[in-house]
């Protein structure tokens, strides 16, 4: 039997806010990025194993599905990095009032969009 502990508010009756959504997205992107290390490891091993395995890896990355995964990874990485800086500023005691939290949240979303666009323009150009 589980101990009777206080429950957090039921998610079904809880209106989503920017703050809570960005918080759970930070976690989700963190889990995705940690899993994504597998791709980096696979790439490194392919480089070490030689030209043939590298060609296979390059083919997988160039495939539309591979490009989609890479794009998703870049969005997750940039979001987690930007929001991570936001968290670090909170940890240092900056920007903790509610209006500041919302403003920094909007800045993080804008920067994620901007930097992702810049990165892929640089890659594809």
């Amino acid at each position: 039997m589980a101990r009777q502990r206080p429950l957090s508010p039921h998610l079904q009756v809880y209106r989503p806010q920017l703050t809570s959504m960005m918080s759970i997205t930070h976690r989700a992107t963190g889990v995705a990025l940690t899993t994504g290390t597998l791709v980096l490891a696979a790439w490194l091993v392919a480089v070490a194993l030689g030209g043939e395995s590298y060609a296979m890896m390059a083919k997988a990355v160039a495939h539309p599905l591979g490009q989609f995964v890479l794009f998703g990874y870049s969005v997750a990485l940039i979001y987690h990095a930007m929001n991570g800086v936001r968290h670090l500023s909170w940890d240092l005691g900056f920007g903790l009032t509610i209006p500041e939290v919302y403003r920094s949240g909007h800045i993080v979303l804008f920067l994620t969009f901007l930097l992702t666009a810049c990165l892929w323009l640089a890659i594809l150009a």
Binding site: R27, T37, L38, L44, V47, A58, S74
Partner: protein
């Protein structure tokens, strides 16, 4: 918190504070290394095998990559630990899942370090 003011004297007595601190220290290191590699990779464009060997084989890049993989996986483990502790409430279950995740991360890390070493050394 009143009984344990966060200061140097009491630092070791607060459970979980080490986890909290290292999660932040590792975040700063991973952030800097990621900026370096994203800019490097984006400026190089599509890499053939020779280009990839030259990139990974460069001593500075090899060291930085080894740091990125190990400190990145460590940062990921600190983060996943919190997620697992929050969402897995089965008694003992979270230890099993955390153990599996850590073993998997160790294998991924060792494979990466082997690859980097065999290219760079």
């Amino acid at each position: 918190m009143a009984d344990h003011p966060a200061g140097i004297v009491y630092r070791r007595r607060i459970p979980g504070l080490g986890h909290w601190r290292w999660q932040r220290y590792s975040a700063v290191v991973v952030l800097l290394l990621m900026i370096y590699f994203v800019i490097t990779l984006a400026s190089l464009g599509a890499l053939d095998h020779a280009g990839a060997l030259a990139l990974v084989g460069h001593p500075v890049n090899a060291l930085a990559l080894a740091g990125l993989v190990t400190i990145g996986l460590w940062h990921g483990m600190l983060g996943l630990q919190v997620v697992i502790e929050d969402y897995i409430s089965v008694p003992g279950g979270r230890h099993v899942v955390l153990g599996i995740v850590r073993v998997a991360a160790a294998l991924v890390g060792m494979a990466s370090l082997w690859a980097i070493a065999s290219v760079a050394l």
